[in-house]
Amino acid sequence: MPEKKKNGEPLIRLAKRDSLAPAARIGIRLGSLLIALLFCGILIFAITGLNPVVVYRTMFEGAFGTKTRIWSTVKEMMMLACIAIGLAPAFKMRFWNIGAEGQVLIGGIVTAACMLYLKTLPSPLLLALMFAGSAVAGALWALLPAVFKAKWNTNETLFTLMMNYVAIQLTSFFVAKWENPFGSNTVGIINQNGMQGWFPALFGTRYFISVILVLLFAVLMFVYLKYTKHGYEIAVVGASENTARYAGINVGWVMIRTMLLSGAICGLAGFMAVAGASHTISVSTAGGRGFTAIIVAWLARFDSATMLLISLLLAFLQSGAGEIASKCKLNDYASQMIIGIILFFILGSEFFINYRCIFRGKAGKGEA
């Protein structure tokens, strides 16, 4: 360290914390979130001259003001949470699955294909086929990088990243192939008249089934990671591959198995996006959520409930910033900017959870 002074002791030393009380953890995270919101408020004020309090109230109205808005925020939240839940086991294993975007799209393509070509089937059978097909497609899309990582240690971050763009082009291919009406370069609403393959409405909304499915996934993933042998193996591989090998865990197989699961859930997110929400397919079916969900899973430390909460926060910011943008005639990319800033703050706050600073002169007191 450059700042060595008289006693040869640096001004600030860092030490890893063993553990921090849960209350303190939550406190640090909430604190960083508050500072981030404050910072964004000042920034919005500087750019637009609007009163930050009014801005946040407008955002709240934009996200939760009417029933339709609440459902659209919930829809966004569930989509993000579903992908994050899918990514959680892979990331816990320290397998960098950056390919969720592609896995979602592949699931969406298969779903749309079923809706287009199998619409004569009875509805329950069709939905079951769409469910299974999208899960298998997502799993297979994730399998390829997993096999290469397991066998030849091919860098999975870069491999899965590239697979996204192959999937995006594949989506564009099918959009051009299925376009309706001709020349519009969009698929349009699939089965608009018969609604074959659409989620049936429950309690007055078609999103209800998606909500139930995602909550079910959340609970199952929590149990899987925490209380099963598989979950334990994932944790060991994530902590140290060598330890896992020494303990007799077949690391390659755990990787492949976990990635199949991860890809399948991401594929199902595509299924829900197509059959449960938009009823069409385009490259914006995933729309960058595959990347955002990575941050959600990471910040939540793969805990299901926290993933749902962070997804809610991001969905709120998304719809809220959209409202400000349309009210002030600015474009709605403002939401991405705000999300980025908030993520920076939360990411930075992790440091204070994992490390503590020891100032010169005070050493010895808090030493463990």
């Binding site: 030849w152 860098n155 082009q169 594949l170 960058g288 474009n331 930075g348 992790e350 490390y355």
Partner: protein, 327 residues
């Protein structure tokens, strides 16, 4: 013949954007930091240059072309380096995860750039569509005399100065990384930070410098895209983002060597635009053709890992935070 020439020209335009991104990312990755924020950084570079020149051209009666270019380059470098600084601070000083921080930077950068790019007019209260005619013309000025030399002139000399700057920069980067002492130190930091630290190399300083300067170079790619590729306007269509990821892909394709980035970038350009020059393709099958650069990158990635040759591997400590007190 003329269609071949126009394909090559399109490939050079396209390749130059990603070559800047690739050179910057090679510098960053050689110091052991995988920065997935390249798309965001290129966005920041592009918008900074546009805003700076927009303000300058709006404020003066007779904007000087040379000054315009200087302002654009300086602004893009600084804007992008600032993005790099955020990433460096979070990953080095606060030891946040590199991949996650990089992705957050990509979201942030594209948000900032598209926000200002899209609302610059509303905020400034003038002009219909943003345009910076003087600067754009200066960027697109071709090599005098030589560009008139028939086919050869068209293929080699019909570009703005940034195309040549990219090639020169790639050469300089190759020389710096593999033939100078500071380059060797930097690579040691990326391969084995513990050893570098023990040998008295300042790991933190090397990483900070590599990330910020690397980001600045990526920013040139954004500036070239805005000023030359789309002729001094702004487009909210996400194409910089796509190009940014291709730049990351190109780093792998070039196996972390700046000299390979030169021909790799042009090859990516040819692969990307080839569909326009193959007769009888439907619009759907064109999309399949646009997959080629990514598929080729995957193949390169797989082949290098299969052959396992030491020369062609990623830096050994790529993506890992260095914490001296940790064993």
């Amino acid at each position: 013949m003329s269609s071949l020439i126009s394909l090559l020209q399109a490939a050079v335009y396209f390749g130059t954007v990603i070559m800047f991104g690739c050179i910057g990312e090679i510098l960053t990755e050689k110091a052991g930091n995988l920065n997935l924020g390249v798309p965001g950084i290129m966005y920041l570079g592009g918008i900074s240059s546009l805003v700076a020149v927009f303000l300058y051209e709006g404020a003066t009666e007779n904007p000087q072309p040379a000054l315009c270019v200087l302002i654009a380059l300086l602004a893009s470098f600084l804007g992008a380096a600032l993005g790099g600084l955020i990433y460096a601070f979070l990953t080095i000083t606060l030891r946040a995860n590199q991949n996650v921080t990089g992705l957050a930077l990509s979201i942030f950068g594209s948000g900032v750039a598209n926000f200002f790019g899209g609302s610059l007019n509303t905020l400034a209260g003038r002009f219909e569509q943003i345009s910076v005619p003087v600067t754009s013309a200066a960027f697109r000025k071709t090599v005098p005399f030589l560009s008139g030399l028939g086919a050869v002139g068209k293929i080699f000399f019909s570009y703005g100065f940034m195309v040549y700057l990219a090639v020169i920069l790639a050469g300089v980067m190759q020389y710096f990384l593999h033939h100078t002492r500071s380059g060797l130190n930097l690579r040691t930091v990326g391969e084995n930070p513990q050893a570098a630290d023990a040998a008295g190399i300042d790991v933190t300083k090397n990483k900070y410098l590599a990330i910020c300067i690397g980001a600045g170079i990526c920013g040139f790619g954004g500036a070239y895209y805005v000023m030359d590729y789309i002729k001094g306007t702004w487009a909210n269509d996400g194409s910089i983002e796509k190009l940014g990821w291709l730049a990351v892909a190109l780093v792998i394709f070039a196996t972390w060597k700046a000299r390979n980035a030169i021909w790799g970038a042009y090859l990516f350009g040819v692969l990307y635009w080839m569909y326009l020059y193959i007769p009888g393709l439907t619009r759907a099958s064109q999309e399949i053709f646009k997959m080629l650069p990514y598929v080729v990158t995957i193949i390169v990635l797989v082949v290098t890992s299969l052959r396992n040759s030491r020369e062609k591997q990623p830096p050994a400590a790529l993506g890992q935070a260095y914490f001296r007190e940790e064993r």
